[in-house]
């Protein structure tokens, strides 16, 4: 039942709050992107938008929020199904392995995001 060590904030309350704060950031970001795309933007406008400091900061914040939100969210899902009760010890091994892969991927997202925004 070693589940708390792989949560993001080591505390349910901290994870709960972070899950909500990151949700609000992601919601605001997706609404903005949806609105920009729906209004039919071309490459020049798109490039100019992401050249502004506020959009870069907002995008980085959204990527960081995605990393936190997905970490906490996938932790909730995996600790519900890949459990000792359902699968024996195998459940824990499988869960830790998957969580490692997920956190590595999320780490890559953050670096990738920085590289997209400030790389060229």
């Amino acid at each position: 039942m070693v589940t708390a060590v792989t949560s993001l904030g080591r505390s349910g309350l901290s994870d709960w709050l972070l899950q909500r704060v990151s949700a609000v950031v992601l919601l605001a970001y997706f609404i903005l992107i949806g609105w920009v795309v729906a209004s039919g933007i071309d490459y020049v406008g798109w490039q100019a938008l992401f050249a502004t400091a506020w959009m870069r900061v907002f995008t980085l914040l959204a990527v960081l929020s995605l990393a936190a939100h997905a970490w906490i969210g996938m932790w909730s899902v995996l600790t519900d199904y890949l459990t000792e009760r359902l699968m024996g010890t195998k459940g824990n091994v499988l869960r830790i392995g998957l969580q490692l892969c997920i956190s590595l991927l999320l780490f890559i997202y953050v670096i990738w995001g920085v590289q997209i925004l400030w790389g060229n």
Partner: protein
């Protein structure tokens, strides 16, 4: 720690209420979004890398399979967001009763279906 407490909940033997469907759909849509997140970052990368990349992405997203995928991910995002907002509203203590939960689930599902259809219409 070995937990030997009995678990007496055979979900498969029950008829699930609408609140349960709303909850499991929120979970499924969250996992779908996680799976799609790689594609989102990739699209952002290629669209900003060069004018050719931006044009290529536009072409790619014009194909039928890509539109279907875009619509599916868009629908997952719409549902997950509306159900997420319902979570936040309920965290403030609004609509926490059984009736409130049922009404909230109905509203979220109905609004998602409508917006998802609108998304499909605007894509085609």
């Amino acid at each position: 720690m070995k937990d030997n407490r009995p678990v007496n909940l055979d979900i498969g033997s029950m008829r699930l209420p609408i609140t349960a469907w709303a909850s499991i759909s929120h979970r499924i849509s969250g996992v779908v979004l996680f799976a799609a997140s790689f594609g989102m970052l990739w699209a952002l990368d290629i669209s900003l890398a060069s004018a050719e990349g931006f044009a290529r992405l536009g072409e790619l997203l014009g194909s039928v399979p890509a539109k279907v995928a875009l619509w599916a991910v868009g629908t997952a995002l719409i549902y997950h967001s509306l159900a997420g907002i319902k979570h936040l509203v309920m965290d403030f203590g609004i609509g926490e009763s059984m009736e409130g939960g049922i009404l909230g689930s109905r509203l979220v599902i109905a609004a998602s279906v409508i917006i998802s259809v609108l998304l499909g219409v605007s894509l085609w």
